[in-house]
């Protein structure tokens, strides 16, 4: 099985959010109570029960015309995932065959080190404090099915397949920017864009601080010694999140 990926084409997306509903349906996640914030974007953020969502961006083009952009927000399944490297108990894992970053909630100790490590601000925690994020429906992929979001998408804005083939296809279709081809060891979620990634509010040059990786080793040592590791120690040790991640 070659490395799998999702190709996201925001230009094809109509913002119907079928992917969000299909994700909740397949992963059996509960609904969230939200309120009207003056935008169609709902729920407001990723959470323990929302693994993917469409980010609505209102902007103007060079001629001052209104543009409404829809970008899928989810775990990028990095080729070089910082969360996996920092996890002290190996609850987060990268699948050998498909390159999917998945997790085991029963192992997770809820130390939140992955949240500090992720340059895309993705990991969220459920009501028990355990990691929850997009796992690219690894159970389906392993059984030869496509992820629920890609299957449900009515316009083909989310496509699933072998990573190399998808990149070749996006290039053939003449997209100017392929976001995720090189970033973080090659992302598992690739964005085909005609405008710079900045317009779509995607993180340019995502970087992971060396400190985070060192912290992973340190935490692993602590766990090995039987010393309890929790969120407070990570927070205390690293200081505020912002100063660390965006170094």
């Amino acid at each position: 099985m070659a490395r799998k990926a999702l190709l996201i084409t925001p230009e094809l997306c109509i913002g119907c959010r079928s992917c969000q509903v299909a994700c909740k349906s397949w992963n059996q996640l509960p609904a969230e109570k939200t309120k009207n914030r003056g935008t169609h974007e709902n729920p407001p953020d990723l959470s323990g029960s929302t693994y993917n969502k469409i980010h609505f961006i209102e902007t103007t083009d060079a001629f001052g015309n209104l543009k409404w952009l829809f970008v899928s927000q989810r775990c990028r399944h990095c080729g070089d995932p910082a969360c996996v490297q920092v996890c002290p108990v190996h609850a987060l894992q990268q699948d050998k065959e498909t390159g999917i970053v998945f997790y085991d909630k029963s192992i997770c100790i809820g130390c939140r080190a992955c949240s500090y490590a992720c340059p895309f601000n993705i990991p969220r925690y459920d009501e028990n404090g355990k990691i929850s994020k997009c796992h690219m429906c690894i159970d389906r992929v392993k059984a030869g099915l496509e992820p629920a979001c890609a299957k449900a998408c009515p316009t083909g804005a989310i496509r699933f397949g072998d990573r190399d083939e998808l990149i070749a296809q996006a290039k053939k279709e003449g997209f100017k920017y392929i976001y995720g081809e090189k970033e973080r060891g090659g992302l598992g979620v690739i964005y085909a864009l005609n405008e710079p990634p900045k317009v779509y509010q995607l993180v340019e040059n995502p970087k992971v601080s060396e400190d985070v990786l060192a912290l992973g080793e340190l935490l692993r040592g602590l766990v090995k010694k039987g010393i309890p590791v929790d969120a407070s120690i990570v927070r205390k040790f690293l200081g505020s999140k912002e100063t660390l991640v965006r170094v």
Binding site: S25, C87, H90, Q94, D139, A214, K225
Partner: protein, 230 residues
């Protein structure tokens, strides 16, 4: 192997004289202090000494500077939820496009729903309403018994199917007997009832439409409407 050792020594030297090293020493101290404060009274839990911290952080620094991937790579092995489930195709109950949906059932319970890739209409994809079909069945708010709100009442109460169907039949009979038009003003036989109307649905299939049409025409109803026209 020797090359690697030389490289490690070189790295350690390089790191020892850069600011990173001192940063880590500082961190060790911070962490040790934190633990000392946390487990001041317990005593027993405080197993980590300052020496351990130093050892740990130096080893971690060296390893991270090599960017060695220490995370164990594991193959995913968990069974698919819909494995061995019975596949039943159905038509989406919402709009009139009529997308085909596969319902996966296990032991008489719906375990998952998704678009039917064999359907020429939706080719496996679905809109958000169609995607949400799973929770139409598995929902704590699902109404399982007929609810009845009596005239001038403001509350709903649960009633049995028998009672509800009997009441509907009784009211239909009463209304029909009262307002049935046998002949119009010109004396032509019309046999119709204008006091009852029927509203159909876009999601009815051919067979359902046939049966409903038969029943409504037999009753003499002429106001046969469709949800999509309202």
């Amino acid at each position: 192997m020797i090359n690697l050792e030389i490289l490690i020594i070189y790295k350690i030297f390089k790191l020892a004289f850069c600011s990173e090293f001192f940063k880590f020493i500082k961190r060790d101290y911070k962490l040790a202090k934190y633990y000392k404060n946390t487990f001041k009274n317990g005593g027993e839990k405080m197993k980590l000494t300052r020496r351990d911290f130093l050892k740990l952080s130096i080893s971690s620094l060296v390893l991270s500077s090599f960017s060695l991937d220490l995370s164990s790579v594991k193959a995913y092995a968990k069974e698919l939820r819909i494995k061995n489930a019975k596949e039943i195709t159905t038509v989406c109950p919402y709009c009139s496009v009529g997308c085909s949906i596969i319902v996966y059932a296990k032991g008489g319970k719906v375990v998952a729903t998704e678009g039917d890739p064999d359907s020429p209409i939706n080719e496996g994809s679905l809109c958000p309403k169609g995607s949400s079909l799973y929770q139409l069945v598995n929902n704590p708010y699902r109404v399982l018994k007929p609810l009845y709100r009596a005239p001038y009442s403001d509350t709903w109460k649960e009633v049995s199917w028998d009672w509800a169907l009997d009441r509907i039949a009784k009211l239909v009979k009463e209304t029909r007997d009262k307002y049935f038009i046998h002949k119009d003003e010109k004396g032509r036989v019309v046999n119709r009832i204008e006091a009852i109307a029927h509203v159909g649905s876009a999601a009815l299939d051919n067979e359902e439409c046939y049966i409903l049409q038969k029943l409504m025409r037999a009753l003499g109803i002429v106001y046969i409407e469709h949800q999509a026209r309202i």
